[in-house]
């Protein structure tokens, strides 16, 4: 295998990791930017999406993607909406407390999953059209294989990102979201129902996490702790990208995905984690508020 093919293969793997990370981090970043809420149960919304994809697979095996992904989105969005409505709304203005309370929610959901499903994990077999790969047998790229499933996930991430950009830029709801993000009090004074915007954004972010879970279910078994393994990395993406910006989150997800793919080739997986953390801490020395900063004239920031 040529070194070019090897490098491209790594790049491809990094991009697919970045796609999952971005789907996981979008909701976190939005709710963090808009409401200053740190949702530790976000990983469990990913898990919920995975289990819903599994349930869809059991119900209608032939339409698991067409049925499973929407189900994962809607199910996680509903749970997210309930979470916002009944718990997080009571804790506005206390970001560190939302962190602890949602950690409690995450423990509950994990244990629930353990009791409802097989604790060692359930498997979803991906459909035939997703199980192959595009491989190059000759030419300068000989040996390079791009798995369909990973291409699908990258595509999904791109579609979701474009959808979000359109939503933010072109719709009335998006206008309201941006207004609340810039200045909650002023938006409220101008008649924007900020509570409803909060609910909408939180449900949307949760739904995207569910999508990420549904997509993950196609590559790896769904376990009760699948969310835990992504949540810390997703938070690093949010920190690196800057709070509440789509652009920052997307760039940071790609950066972290590629960096961890590179670090894992040259060192071990565990050491790559350490390097990643060092990179983020070092980066924050230069830009303490992340890559993309939402400008604000407020003096006190949480």
């Amino acid at each position: 295998m040529s070194s070019l093919a090897l490098a491209l293969g790594q790049l491809f793997d990094g991009l697919s990791v970045a796609s999952i990370l971005m789907l996981a981090a979008l909701g976190l970043s939005l709710s963090f930017g808009l409401m200053r809420v740190i949702n530790m149960a976000h990983g469990e919304l990913i898990m919920t999406g995975g289990y819903l994809a599994y349930v869809a697979h059991k119900l209608i095996p032939q339409a698991q993607v067409a049925f499973g992904l929407p189900l994962a989105f809607l199910g996680s969005a509903l749970i997210g909406a309930a979470l916002e409505r009944f718990l997080i709304r009571r804790l506005y203005g206390r970001p560190l407390d939302t962190l602890l309370a949602t950690w409690g929610v995450s423990l509950l959901l994990q244990q629930l999953a353990r009791n409802l499903f097989d604790p060692t994990g359930v498997e979803v077999t991906s459909p035939d059209w997703l199980s192959g790969s595009i491989s190059f047998d000759s030419g300068p790229l000989a040996g390079l294989a791009l798995a369909h499933i990973r291409l699908f996930i990258i595509g999904l991430a791109v579609v979701v990102l474009c959808g979000m950009i359109l939503l933010f830029a072109k719709t009335r709801a998006g206008l309201h979201i941006r207004a609340v993000n810039q200045h909650r009090g002023m938006a409220s004074a101008l008649g924007v129902n900020t509570r409803r915007v909060d609910l909408l954004v939180f449900a949307l972010g949760s739904g995207i996490a569910g999508l990420a879970g549904g997509a993950l279910a196609l590559i790896a078994p769904v376990t009760p702790t699948v969310g835990q393994s992504y949540i810390v990395d997703a938070f690093l993406v949010v920190i690196l990208g800057g709070m509440g910006t789509l652009r920052g989150t997307a760039i940071a997800a790609i950066l972290i995905g590629l960096l961890s793919a590179i670090a894992e080739t040259f060192t071990s997986i565990s050491f790559a984690k350490v390097l990643l953390l060092l990179f983020v801490v070092a980066f924050l020395q230069f830009r303490p508020r992340g890559l993309v900063v939402t400008r604000s004239r407020a003096l006190e920031e949480t």
Binding site: R94, L99, G104, V232, V281
Partner: protein, 369 residues
């Protein structure tokens, strides 16, 4: 509101009495319960550190397991080495084909160096981390998440370097410390007394710190960092100071806990244990040092008695406790005790206007929109 830490000297009485009563526990407790109390009080030392950083300083540390682990492993490495026959390597090194003692294990052949390391190593680690995160005015949310990532990285690293750290199983099978056999009854009593002594010293130190200018500035930074800055102080050194103290407390706790339980493993230093440590403090009352200690002992007693019989129920309960403590009683047991005492002391007719402002959990978080 006057933070509980600066209250009158009368408030020293109850903690002091309790420390003395518990120090004499070997005379009236069965060995098994003695061991549990020793373990939980060691953890309480760490909890007091969290109370300093979080309750007094307003910065939520989610990686205290790292400093706990540094202290614990520092002592455990020495205990492992002295338990060996001369010239032999620890069992896990032999299994992993490590043929020579790694260089960074060498200093731990000396007991004194190892004991010193339980304080110095966590202190240096905490200092470096605190300097990096506080220097550039990162928000407390960022710091919480970065310390959590640190806990994850530390635990993963420990597990993956099996040949030199003992991997997932950690370090265990200890024998003697300073020539005294750890299984011996007399040693156990000594260990208990030392643990209570260290906890009492840590408590006294942390309270005394609160009365100094530095301690007051820490609380001032929590309640209005910008105001402190406008008054001409740089908040960073004070935040770094409490963070390092908390790191040292965690390291001491790790060393003592290792002695009591006879094992240190990555399961005690990762993300999950680190955040559980915070909930001990939240249950006890985040602004109260003694509350943190009591909360730690209570939560762990509950965990010990419930989780062995109904492991499922314990995890549900733990989740519910996280939610309830934050939503219903942000000031924890100490807060409940204080308002109860205040009600007892208050004359019946007058309703004090101060009762309203004591209900706020932490000034900054409650006032910022």
């Amino acid at each position: 509101m006057v933070p509980p830490i600066f209250m009158s000297s009368r408030s020293w009485l109850v903690p002091a009495l309790l420390f003395v009563v518990v120090a004499f526990a070997p005379m009236y407790l069965a060995p098994y319960h003695l061991l549990l109390i020793g373990r939980f009080v060691s953890l309480g030392i760490l909890a007091m550190g969290i109370s300093l950083v979080w309750g007094q300083g307003g910065v939520l540390p989610l990686g205290q397991g790292v400093f706990f682990g540094l202290g614990g492993y520092a002592l455990a490495m020495h205990l492992k080495l002295v338990a060996l026959p001369d010239g032999e390597l620890p069992d896990f090194m032999q299994w992993n084909g490590v043929e020579q003692l790694p260089l960074w294990w060498k200093p731990f052949t000396s007991a004194w160096l190892a004991v010193a390391a339980t304080i110095v190593v966590p202190a240096i680690a905490a200092l470096v981390l605190a300097w990096l995160v506080f220097r550039r005015r990162m928000t407390s949310v960022y710091i919480a998440l970065i310390t959590q990532a640190l806990a994850l990285a530390f635990a993963t690293l420990l597990i993956s370097r099996q040949g030199t750290t003992g991997g997932f199983n950690g370090l265990t099978n200890f024998d003697t410390l300073f020539g005294a056999s750890l299984g011996d009854d007399r040693t156990r009593v000594w260990l208990h007394v030392v643990t209570i002594g260290v906890a009492a010293l840590a408590y006294a130190f942390a309270r005394a710190l609160g009365a100094t200018q530095a301690g007051r500035l820490v609380t001032a930074v929590r309640d209005g960092e910008n105001r402190v800055r406008f008054l001409g102080y740089s908040p960073a050194p004070y935040k770094i100071l409490v963070f390092v103290i908390a790191g040292v407390f965690a390291g001491l706790a790790g060393a003592l806990h290792t002695l009591h339980s006879g094992v240190i493993s990555p399961a005690m230093v990762g993300v999950v244990p680190s955040i559980e440590m915070v909930i001990w403090v939240a249950v006890g009352g985040r602004t109260s040092l003694f509350g943190a200690l009591i909360g730690t002992v209570l939560v762990n007693v509950a965990k010990d008695s419930i989780s062995s019989e109904w492991p499922n129920a314990w995890l549900y309960l733990m989740g519910a406790v996280f939610i309830l403590v934050v939503v219903a009683t942000p000031r924890g047991l100490a807060g409940a005790a204080q308002s109860w005492l205040a009600r007892l002391n208050r004359p019946r007719r007058t309703t004090s206007p101060r009762s309203a402002d004591t209900a706020e959990p932490t000034g900054k978080e409650a006032t910022t929109p």
